[in-house]
């Protein structure tokens, strides 16, 4: 298993899990999820191909109400 952190919380994922796979695991597949991996933004088109590595730090965000 691989362990990553998502918004500061440890999350176990399958070895070779992709960003898209992680979002689905978190129940965010259909959402407008924005992803940063180790401080770098991940292009939406690359969610299915970017594979997570042990110790990755992820920020998952989304648009919310604001002015």
């Amino acid at each position: 298993m691989t362990s990553v952190s998502v918004n500061g919380r440890d999350q176990a994922v399958e070895d070779g899990e992709t960003v898209a796979g992680l979002l689905e695991r978190l129940g965010l597949g259909a959402r407008y999820a924005l992803v940063e991996r180790n401080g770098e933004p991940v292009e939406r088109a690359r969610y299915p191909e970017v594979r997570l590595e042990d110790g990755d730090r992820l920020v998952v965000a989304r648009p919310v109400a604001g002015g």
Binding site: V6, N7, R9, L26, G27, L28, R31, Y32, A33, L34, V35, E36, G39, P41, V42, E43, R44, V59, V60, A61, R62, P63, V64, A65, G66, G67
Partner: protein, 259 residues
């Protein structure tokens, strides 16, 4: 005034000169109705970390079709934080337009001009269409234009205060020397404030709280739409010059009691 009077930002035409925020509504359903009633074509959103324990509705499902989503950088206190937030939004599929706000002060929510200018330069260089939120500062306006901002958006008064145009003379100077559209953003409390901004020559206004927290947000959205149109029409019509003394509207000679 010509009937075709589009609001043009970075080469893109908009029919509405009223930009709206999505914050502070009681429900997304009310928000959707109000945004539709406002006629807005540019609608701001914030970007925040997802709460993994909550199952919140997706705001994008409640926005009218065909509006341009304008992610803001609210919550950012430095240029680096704002650039990071904007890049995250763009990578994730939001537009490459950004309402740039860098606000270190929680009491008055006043924007940091130095960090805003620094972030603007970085973001323009990185291909963003940048709409910076600033204090009404004509010198800063020129610097933001020089680095390539698409608009300059001075506040009327502090965010959410509803106090209207408190630095009217500074905004008048900004209107006079503007080379990119000037959008009065924040502090407009009522449609008359919006109309006043447009009469002064602002190209557009951005309103959130005054609509979202109105007794009837949908009716207020419509009122703001009308006020912005009226103010724009008045600007084109040419507002009369003020004078200290009265000037009679009726003839001074020939009154009935005259001999």
């Amino acid at each position: 005034m010509s009937l075709h009077d589009p609001f043009i930002v970075a080469g893109r035409e908009f029919g509405s000169r009223l930009l709206t925020g999505t914050g502070k509504y009681d429900s997304f359903e009310t928000m959707r109705e109000a945004l539709t009633a406002s006629g807005s074509e540019i609608v701001t959103v914030a970007v925040r970390r997802i709460d993994l324990d909550a199952r919140e509705d997706d705001i994008t499902a409640f926005l009218p079709e065909d509006v341009l989503l304008l992610p803001n950088t609210s919550g950012c206190e430095t240029a680096e934080e704002a650039v990071r937030s904007a890049r995250l939004a763009r990578a994730g599929g939001l537009p490459d337009w950004v309402k740039l706000e860098v606000i270190p002060d929680p009491r008055y929510l006043l924007p940091d001009p130095v960090e805003t200018l620094r972030a603007a330069a970085i973001l323009v260089e990185d291909g963003f269409t940048v709409l910076p939120y600033v204090l009404p500062d004509p010198v800063l306006q020129k610097k933001l234009e020089e680095v390539g901002c698409a608009t300059v958006m001075p506040l009327a008064s502090p965010i959410g205060s509803g106090r209207g145009l408190k630095l009217r003379d500074a905004i008048r100077i900004m209107v006079e020397q503007a080379e990119v559209p000037l959008v009065v953003d924040a502090g407009l409390g009522s449609p008359s404030h919006a109309a006043e901004s447009m009469e002064l020559g602002a190209d557009a206004v951005l309103v959130n709280t005054a609509i979202a927290r109105a007794g009837d947000p949908v009716a207020m959205a419509r009122a703001f739409k009308l006020a912005v149109e009226a103010g724009r029409a008045a600007f084109h019509a040419g507002v009369m010059a003020e004078s200290v003394e009265a000037a009679a509207s009726s003839p001074l000679a020939g009154a009935i009691h005259e001999p």
